[in-house]
């Protein structure tokens, strides 16, 4: 992928070095908190609390205007330099327009094209399946990646993270990060090969660390330019030198860059209306700052962490609609349920998010950061499989139809979120020999599929 606007890249770094100096507290309270509150009022951002998939195009467009204004007037905060990074309207429009509306990822027979979709557009969504950085024991990493890659409906694999490399602790900003980068990529590439999909696009690098791990992992004998390379904001709309270094590396190597942010519900953005604005401004600024080929905002509940909470559904739906109706940015939904593998509720949460996202026009689904991704080994390919099936079944649905289904699903899980069952470990949910779901988990999956059919989904 040719990426050669070096002057723009230099101008972004210059903004981080020469913008106005601002204290971080002022950023949080004024540039995010107060500004968002004003924008909610100015653009009359509100909706019926019992609607989870709104179908009000005018509201979606007003939301886009509010998100645009937040992006333009507040910009991004660089934590290393304490500088505000600002774009002119022309700069921002130019960089948004320069983003791809379709994107080839993976290689050979495993290549897939992510294409832009609009709300209610009956076209295929791309499915990412994986553990999204959830930790897994080093010796189980390969098996888990292989199990996801074996799922035929998964187009892109997102690996888990390893807590150790060669049995040793991965010390941040040390050579152990380089060791971990290679260990992860070696294991992941071998796993997808075993699954018969050597060219499949892989999310890289999943193991947490500083910028060193991503840089080292995007090189010879490791992850390829056609893989899915991550860099992100810190909430809200903050960036670090490490993020900018990752972005520069992905740009200069011509690698696919995926950029994300996680607006916090109950944080400086406020409630659901503020989150909706944050979920529009964030992707605009991700493209402008980190040059993402794909963008996504995966909001997080301040205490519960999940993004399947009822209050967050319409906020996300509206933000997808706003972006889809006003830009060609490739945007996705990140599914972070409260429940874990082996429970029915995780499947309800996943289904609700998939229906809401697909009918609202997302181009790809990131599934599934089970049990909020914080319990080692608590993810499994079954929930990604369900996500893929529900997503494809939702491609032909209207937002109203989607809303009716989502409402029924939310009623099944919402009250259980605060005490969510984090489920079972991969070694218990899967047969490690066959890499197929254990009988009990398969049975639950089939029961929920039947329930979804009864609700009216053609799955």
């Amino acid at each position: 992928m040719k990426k050669e606007n070096y002057e723009y890249l230099a101008s972004v770094l210059e903004k981080a070095d020469t913008g106005p100096v601002i204290e971080e507290k002022e950023w949080d309270y004024q540039y995010i908190g107060a500004k968002t509150k004003d924008l909610i009022k100015k653009y009359d951002i509100s909706w019926d609390k019992d609607t989870y998939v709104p179908a009000d195009d005018d509201l979606a467009d007003r939301l886009y205007q509010a998100g645009w204004e937040l992006a333009l007037e507040s910009g991004v905060y660089c934590r290393n330099t304490k500088k505000q990074m600002l774009w002119t309207e022309d700069e921002l429009k130019g960089i948004i327009d320069s983003g791809p509306s379709e994107l080839v990822v993976g290689t050979g027979d495993d290549e897939v094209v992510i294409r832009q979709r609009r709300p209610e557009q009956p076209s295929r969504v791309t499915i990412l399946g994986g553990a999204y950085g959830t930790l897994i024991e080093e010796d189980l990493f390969g098996a888990m990646v292989e199990a996801y890659a074996k799922e035929p409906l998964i187009d892109i694999v997102e690996p888990p993270s390893i807590p150790t490399a060669f049995g040793r602790t991965i010390r941040i900003q040390s050579p152990w990060e380089v060791m971990a980068a290679r260990r992860e990529s070696d294991l992941a590439l071998a796993a997808v090969k075993r699954a018969g999909r050597p060219g499949i696009c892989i999310g890289a690098a999943a193991t947490s660390g500083s910028e060193i791990i991503e840089l080292a992992a995007t090189s010879y004998n490791a992850y390829r330019q056609t893989d899915w390379h991550h860099t992100s904001f810190v909430s809200e709309n903050k960036v670090t030198y490490a993020d900018l270094t990752r972005a520069a590396h992905f740009y200069l190597t011509g690698s696919v860059a995926h950029t994300f942010c996680d607006p916090i519900y109950g944080g400086y953005l406020g409630g659901k209306e503020g989150i909706a604005i944050g979920c529009v401004a964030g992707p605009i600024l991700l493209r402008a700052t980190l040059l993402g080929d794909t963008v996504n905002a995966g909001p997080s509940h301040a205490h519960l962490s999940c993004d399947t909470h009822a209050d967050l559904l319409a906020a996300q739906a509206l933000s997808f609609q706003a972006i889809a109706r006003n830009t060609h940015l490739l945007k996705g939904i990140h599914i972070r349920p409260a429940h874990g593998p082996g429970t029915k509720e995780i499947l309800y949460e996943v289904a609700a998010m998939a229906i809401m996202g697909v009918t609202s026009g997302v181009d790809y689904l990131k599934s599934v950061q089970s049990a909020c991704g914080v319990n080692m080994g608590h993810t499994s390919p079954v929930e990604a499989r369900l996500c893929a099936r529900v997503a494809h079944a939702s491609e032909a649905l209207s937002r109203e139809e989607g809303n009716a289904l989502v409402t029924q699903l939310v009623n099944k899980y919402q009250d259980l979120i605060p005490t969510a069952d984090t489920g079972i470990h991969f070694r218990d949910s899967y047969n490690l020999e066959t890499l197929e779901p254990a009988q009990a988990w398969q049975k639950i999956y089939e029961e929920v599929v039947s329930e979804l059919r009864e609700l009216g989904l053609s799955i």
């Binding site: 040390s174 010879y220 520069a248 590396h249």
Partner: protein, 462 residues
């Protein structure tokens, strides 16, 4: 499938040493593990260098004693990891195994620019590989491309070391920031453009030199940039210290199966002591870098504590002796590193280069690198003409013995030694080269021709 250059368990073992070795205070390292140990070993092995009348030693027994002293230093002290404050200890058996596995030849480059570097011996005729370039001298952005082309178009220059950019896209470069990534890529892109333009796309490159952090290496040894066949760099700090940044670079070269050269600059007048101590540290450094950083080629460019240059007279025999010790006792691929005191346009620069090359080539080095002109500290103060001169001297020295070189070296040192008291930094590239033709201006060319004549009159067959 290309065989990995290092088994991963071996590298893990090195990182374990950096994490788990005995904790040592850095002052104790410098004063006891380096200073006192080297002093004792110099005495124990009766290592003496005639620093009053420096030339090219040719005492094989002395060279072998330097090697034994260095092995003792490597075993007794090992390496100090500055990030963990741990002593990385190697047994004699471990080090002997490391040395036993060193191949007699290594390869760099691609296509017609592939070069096989073969082991040479002291006093033995044999081809020396040339690595000519800026060696990190800082240059303005608009000068990088023409200067690089001027170095790359020297036919006998086997590989090219890059310069460092002062700015990137007109902006200052902040270390340990994303600017490192952007600047190093700009350096590399311009270098690739230069070698393409002169018709040598497979030419080996040594870089990047713009970044001080490990980011510069990790970001450029990757898809679409530096190739595994290039001449990567990772180093020890003085004396026998390694940082996480160095280990990150080394690890990345190992993981990408890339060629790497390791370097180390013992400080004359520092904890290593005088000429004898520098010779011992130089040899120990090569052995320990092979064990720790897994390079394929090695250079030591000892540094005078105040002047920085390594052509300071007592350092000439010290380096010659160290190279003899390594050449006689190991297969390690040794490079010299030319860091003269004087700059472009100055006769002294050429005298320094000639003395240094005669001393080290006859002492068995496989690679001649340079020129870090005017000690590399003055912007754009370097030119390809001194590399051309270096090549001429090296070709003559390849056919000489230490004893033949010794009197010439002594005369050359006499010509420049007093001039080193006040650094003659000469002129920047754009004042000694024609930027259109990329050829030296007549004034600088005349100086070159005069010095060649002087060397011929001293008995050198140029």
């Amino acid at each position: 499938m290309i065989e990995p250059k290092v088994k991963i368990d071996e590298f893990v073992n090195i990182l374990d040493k950096a994490e788990n070795g005995p904790r040592v205070d850095i002052k104790e390292w410098d004063q006891v593990y380096i200073y006192q140990t080297i002093k004792d070993l110099v005495e124990k092995y009766d290592i003496r260098i005639d620093v009053k009348n420096p030339g090219v030693p040719s005492d094989d027994d002395l060279a072998d004693r330097v090697f034994e002293a260095a092995m003792d230093l490597a075993v007794q002290s090992g390496v100090y990891c500055t990030d963990t404050q741990r002593q990385m200890i190697f047994s004699r058996d471990e080090l002997e195994k490391v040395l036993a596995r060193v191949p007699e030849e290594v390869q760099i480059g691609e296509g017609p620019d592939t070069r096989v570097i073969k082991k040479r011996m002291v006093d033995q005729e044999g081809h020396v590989t040339i690595g000519g370039g800026f060696w990190g001298v800082v240059v303005p952005e608009d000068m990088l491309l023409p200067m690089t082309m001027a170095y790359a178009q020297i036919e006998e220059n086997d590989f090219l070391c890059t310069g460092a950019l002062r700015t990137t896209y007109g902006r200052p470069i902040r270390a340990y920031s994303p600017w490192d990534t952007l600047a190093c890529w700009q350096e590399m892109r311009q270098t690739f453009e230069a070698i393409d333009r002169v018709g040598r796309p497979g030419m080996t490159i040594s870089g990047p030199n713009t970044s001080a952090s490990a980011i510069g290496t990790v970001t450029t040894v990757t898809h679409g940039c530096l190739r595994p066949s290039d001449y990567g760099s990772v180093a020890f700090m003085s004396e026998l210290k390694v940082s996480y940044d160095d280990l990150i670079r080394a690890c990345h070269y190992v993981q990408t199966n890339s060629f790497a050269h390791n370097f180390y600059n013992p400080i004359y007048g520092g904890y290593a002591g005088g000429a004898e101590g520098v010779a011992v540290a130089h040899v120990a450094g090569f052995i320990l870098m092979k064990a720790t950083l897994f390079g394929e080629a090695f250079n030591a460019g000892p540094s005078h504590a105040h002047m920085s240059t390594n052509t300071f007279p007592p350092l000439i025999p010290a380096q010659a002796l160290a190279h003899q010790a390594l050449s006689r006792n190991t297969n390690i691929t040794c490079a010299n590193f030319t860091r003269p005191n004087a700059g472009p346009g100055e006769k002294d620069l050429l005298y320094e280069i000639a003395a240094y090359q005669l001393a080290t080539v006859t002492s068995g080095v496989e690679i001649a690198t340079g020129v870090q002109t005017a000690t590399g500290r003055h912007e754009a103060h370097c030119s390809p003409l001194e590399v051309r001169f270096l090549i001429k001297v090296v070709r003559a020295a390849e056919k000489m013995t230490r004893k033949e070189a010794d009197p010439i070296v002594k005369k050359l040192i006499a010509l420049y030694r007093d001039g080193q008291k006040e650094q003659k930094i000469g002129k920047p590239f754009n004042e000694v080269y024609d930027l259109e033709t990329l050829e030296p201006k007549s004034e600088w060319q005349s100086v070159f021709d005069e010095v060649v004549d002087e060397l011929v009159s001293l008995g050198l067959k140029l």
